[in-house]
């Protein structure tokens, strides 16, 4: 569980927590919103890192682990797809940023689509990386 905390949870949540700490202070109050660091697909930067780490672990496993070719191939291809999708999120989110706050009357899930979809992709990357880590390092 400590591995999940330091490798997945903290890198993704600390920028949001930092925004919450900034919010009470005068120069930042009103402009420092917790959603700003993640609204344009920035979570996918973490997903890219996780996907490459997963690839490294499956391609260069520890000496005690046995990783068969089919498992290695499936995981490397799936993580390459995750990297490709995450790169698209990071680039497209930067080109067309989501305005904050959302226009009145528009539901949050319809407005912050890039955030929601990038969170799904990042969760997929985290799930595959966790599964690979605990399988490649028994």
């Amino acid at each position: 569980m400590l591995w999940v905390l330091v490798t997945i949870v903290l890198p993704l949540t600390l920028p949001v927590l930092a925004m919450l700490f900034l919010e009470p202070f005068a120069p930042f109050s009103g402009t420092a919103k917790w959603i700003l660091p993640i609204k344009d697909g920035q979570l996918c930067w973490g997903a890219i890192a996780m996907a490459f780490s997963g690839m490294y672990e499956v391609l260069f496993p520890s000496y005690s682990a046995t990783v068969d070719a089919m498992f290695r191939g499936a995981v490397v291809i799936s993580l390459a797809v995750v990297v490709f999708c995450s790169v698209l999120f990071a680039a497209v989110g930067a080109v067309a940023p989501t305005p904050v706050p959302a226009p009145p009357g528009r539901p949050w899930h319809a407005h912050y689509v890039t955030l929601i979809r990038s969170a799904v992709t990042t969760s997929v990357a985290a799930a595959i990386y966790t599964a690979v880590h605990f399988n490649a390092n028994p």
Binding site: G41, V67, D68, M70, F71, R72, G73, A74, V75, I77, S78, L79, V81, V82, F84, C85, S86, L88, F89, V92, G93, V95, A96, V113, T114, R117, S118, V120, T121, V124, A125, A127, I128, A131, V132, N135
Partner: protein, 53 residues
């Protein structure tokens, strides 16, 4: 007349810019939708690989 044409030109530019903005957001939504579906496909492939393992 010149002023009027300048104003019209500005309006035209603003309208074009607004349309480009709309299409940019639509393109972003389509790409993010495809990317999310792609990541689901990757998840299925990884689960298959883990099942074989």
């Amino acid at each position: 007349m010149r002023i009027l044409s300048q104003i019209r030109g500005t309006e035209r530019r603003m309208t074009t810019s607004s349309k480009e903005r709309m299409s940019l957001e639509e393109a972003r939504d389509k790409i993010t939708w495809l990317a999310m579906i792609g990541s689901f496909v990757a998840l299925v492939l990884a689960i298959w690989g883990l099942y074989l393992h």
